[in-house]
């Protein structure tokens, strides 16, 4: 808990010596409470006071590391883990969110081997790249069900670990947890099984194996109290399971905990990453799981567990996540290059626009809708919209001509028709002069008009 100005004031020497740069100790204390100056500016603080204050100035939400990333996720560091938490704001427009939500599919001791294999195989199929990010199911939740033996659970954990994903061991049974940890602790899984009734034993297992401990409870107060009790035992490598009492409760837990730790008087005991187990909140209902996975991606789930991630779920969820975790100050950009659309090849017509992602998506969407094969040529226009980049001199006849040369377009594409965005029709003359072999056509001013425009060109034999 952060200290208030008056609490800090009580720790000061109260001599108003001004050596800290503030006129009085009170003024200094108030500034420290605001975070405007550091406590070290006062030469007369006791060590005890400094210790109390440094505790209070730790990051409000902890960053927890789990698992080992599969090789392909991070080419430079084969042992890198997934970082979760460490967030500093409640809304993305305030500051970039730090550690993106990760997703998990579930295997369980209640499933037969064939089902487990099918889930693991299907999960592995979801693996693709989208604007520079690898999209795949990073975690596997391994559920222990009542009555399953410790050995069977350990075997299941081993099988899941062989799939080369990070693991969440959802287990309350001590013997099963111990057996599974023994089998897979080197993969740095989460031991997700502590609650008010068993946290001492679970904490012993987690610290013994040096893995992160998952904590849950029947309501937010119980979760909070259990975390506090485990912190007292000296363990702060924790993650909160938001629980499966109800959707409403799990959502409230997510928001209340995040809000408490990011408050101006941060409550660090509330500051841990979270697991939203939507498989348990809506068992057997894949569409409801899609809805809830979205909800907890938006509002404060660090790991979202579904029963079986499908491509249909992954495509929108991963796209959403990519948007959510971008820097709000920086316009997202598309790599310059040739983007063939509707099966375009070297004889298909060319269009060009800027590398601002929003423009690209709008334009490429409409081009796809037209059904006309075409090559979309994206040059480096500074990540700005058409008119802005034109005004900034970053989307000009010169820049387009240079791009055509640098990307060796004339050898890669035989078609010599290039459609310009209507908003920069003024470039036509210049461009014709710079690219004499090309037929420069002025396109529509709005993306929505592209469908008709291209269909008309096709009808006229121009595309």
């Amino acid at each position: 808990m952060a200290l208030t100005g008056i609490q800090i004031f009580k720790l000061t020497p109260k001599k108003n010596c001004k050596e800290c740069g503030s006129p009085t100790c009170m003024a200094f204390a108030m500034k420290v409470a605001q975070g405007a100056v550091g406590i070290d500016k006062c030469p007369y603080m006791s060590e005890d006071a400094i210790a109390q204050l440094s505790e209070a100035s730790a990051p409000p939400m902890k960053t927890i590391e789990i698992g080992k990333k599969p090789f392909a996720d991070n080419k430079n560091d084969t042992d890198a883990s997934f970082k979760l938490g460490g967030e500093t704001v409640l809304f993305r427009h305030e500051k970039t969110f730090v550690n993106k939500t990760r997703y998990a599919s579930t295997v369980s001791t209640a499933m037969d081997a064939a089902k487990v294999d099918q889930i693991l195989t299907d999960m592995a199929k979801i693996d693709y790249e989208r604007i520079g990010d690898r999209m795949y199911v990073e975690f596997i939740a391994v559920d222990h069900t009542d009555g399953a033996s410790a050995d069977a659970y350990a075997e299941l954990a081993k099988k899941a670990a062989a799939a080369n994903r990070a693991l969440i061991l959802n287990v309350k049974d001590e013997a099963a947890a111990a057996a599974a940890l023994e089998a897979v602790k080197d993969t740095k899984p989460v031991l997700n099984g502590a609650d008010a009734s068993n946290y001492e034993a679970m904490n012993k297992l987690a610290t013994g194996a040096d893995v992160v401990l998952g904590v849950t409870g029947s309501n937010v107060d119980e979760i909070y109290d259990t975390i506090a009790a485990i912190e007292k035992l000296g363990n702060k490598k924790l993650i909160v399971d938001l629980g499966s009492v109800s959707v409403k409760d799990a959502f409230a837990n997510a928001v209340l905990l995040r809000r408490a730790c990011l408050d101006k008087n941060p409550d660090r005991t509330a500051g841990y990453p979270t697991i939203a187990n939507v498989a348990k909140l809506a068992p057997g209902d894949a569409h409801m799981q899609t809805a809830l996975a979205t909800l907890f991606t938006m509002k404060y789930g660090s790991i979202v567990i579904v029963e079986e991630m499908t491509y249909a779920q992954a495509l929108p969820l991963y796209g959403l996540r990519q948007n959510l975790f971008t820097d709000p100050q920086k316009a997202p950009r598309i790599e310059p290059g040739i983007y063939p659309i509707n099966g375009a090849e070297e004889n298909s017509i060319c269009l060009t626009t800027v590398d601002f992602a929003l423009t690209y998506f709008l334009v490429s969407g409409e081009l796809e809708r037209s059904g006309v094969p075409c090559n979309l040529l994206i040059s480096d226009a500074g990540g700005l919209s058409v008119l802005t980049s034109w005004a900034a001199g970053k989307f000009s006849a010169g820049s387009i001509a240079k791009y055509i040369q640098e990307f060796d377009i004339e050898n890669k594409i035989k078609n010599r028709t290039l459609v310009l965005p209507g908003k920069v029709a003024v470039l036509k003359g210049d461009l014709e002069a710079k690219l004499p072999d090309w037929n420069i056509v002025v396109g529509p001013t709005e993306a929505v008009q592209l469908v008709k425009f291209l269909k008309d060109m096709q009808a006229n034999g121009q595309a």
Binding site: R92, H93, K248, V255, D267, H287, A291, A312, N323
Partner: protein, 313 residues
């Protein structure tokens, strides 16, 4: 020691706007917390879902929608079927056929369609224009006139045509008015101010602050919705206290994740499932940051989003 819950109370409340007449009305807006934050204050009114059909009938619809509306001969048949979908709170009729770059249907024909739908179903109704600014500024006032007494929401008045549409819908024929801006919070506010200055009752205005499909520049939507809600509630900004309606289906059904055929991308699996999940994810994301209502197309998406809303309040 229990968690010290930092509950958030706002003095402002998003205005409640009632759509429809008689027994069949639905209320948009009315909350005074961030979406679904019932722990801050119990919600008196939940998020709403619209189901959309268009005057073009089934011609341009994907196969799954043709299947759902199988047996429907006319737009009126579709409307009758749409209003039976569980979870749908209002019907949205899009008059896409008016687009001069498309079918270019006459205003009379479109008004006739709107009227026949409104007469055939006893259900809260939203009528969307064709999105061509000039055509809509002619078309929507005529629709407003023809549907007098039905208390329909007309979408949308934009910066370029708010005077015509606002005067007709909001002043002359006492309908509800949609104010549309494209992910630009300052313009969203300005348009509301202009509409108010026109003399329209702000209690009858609903905002569409822009939308996108998840993954397609949706970051702008998130921040626009977050900031509009934040300013409306946190700063009690009267010019932003209108409920927000977001047309989701418009954006989601055309992206390649939702439309690429199974032959083209066999690894992606069922195109219907992809379209549904894209619609669900985008809708839930909008609702979670501030939309008071979303417009969807597929009954399965509507059911899923409705059950999530129900589970949260």
């Amino acid at each position: 020691m229990p968690l010290n819950k930092k509950l958030q109370k706002f003095s402002a409340t998003v205005r409640s706007v009632e759509l429809g007449t008689g027994d069949k009305t639905t209320t948009l807006g009315g909350s005074n917390t961030y979406p679904f934050y019932t722990f801050d204050n119990p919600t008196t009114n939940t998020a709403k879902i619209g189901i959309e059909i268009s005057d073009l009938g089934l011609a341009e619809e994907p196969d799954c929608m043709k299947e759902f509306y199988a047996g429907c001969e006319t737009v009126v048949d579709m409307a009758k079927k749409a209003v039976t979908v569980e979870g749908a709170d209002f019907l949205v009729l899009k008059l896409i056929g008016g687009d001069p770059n498309g079918e270019n249907k006459s205003i009379e024909e479109l008004v006739e369609t709107a009227k026949s739908v409104a007469d055939a179903v006893d259900f809260p109704l939203v009528v969307e224009g064709c999105k061509n600014v000039e055509k809509d500024s002619q078309l929507l006032p005529k629709v407003a006139e023809a549907l007098q007494g039905k208390n329909v929401l007309l979408m949308s008045a934009k910066e370029e045509n708010y005077k015509n549409i606002g005067a007709a819908a909001g002043l002359a024929y006492d309908q509800l008015l949609g104010a549309e801006s494209a992910v630009d919070i300052n313009l969203a506010k300005q348009l509301n101010v202009l509409i108010k200055q026109l003399g329209v009752d702000v209690g009858k205005v609903v905002m569409n602050v822009g939308s996108a499909a998840a993954g397609y520049g949706f970051d702008y939507c998130i921040s626009t919705l977050d900031r509009v809600k934040g300013a409306a509630l946190g700063q009690s900004d009267d010019s932003l206290l209108m409920p927000i309606i977001t047309p989701v289906a418009d954006e989601t059904w055309s992206v390649k994740e939702a439309s690429a055929s199974e032959e083209d991308v066999p690894e992606w699996g069922s195109v219907v499932e992809r379209a549904i999940d894209m619609e669900i994810t985008t809708a839930v994301a909008c609702l979670s940051c501030g939309s008071d209502a979303v417009i969807l197309k597929h009954p399965t998406s509507i059911a899923a989003v409705a059950s999530m809303i129900k589970a949260l309040v």
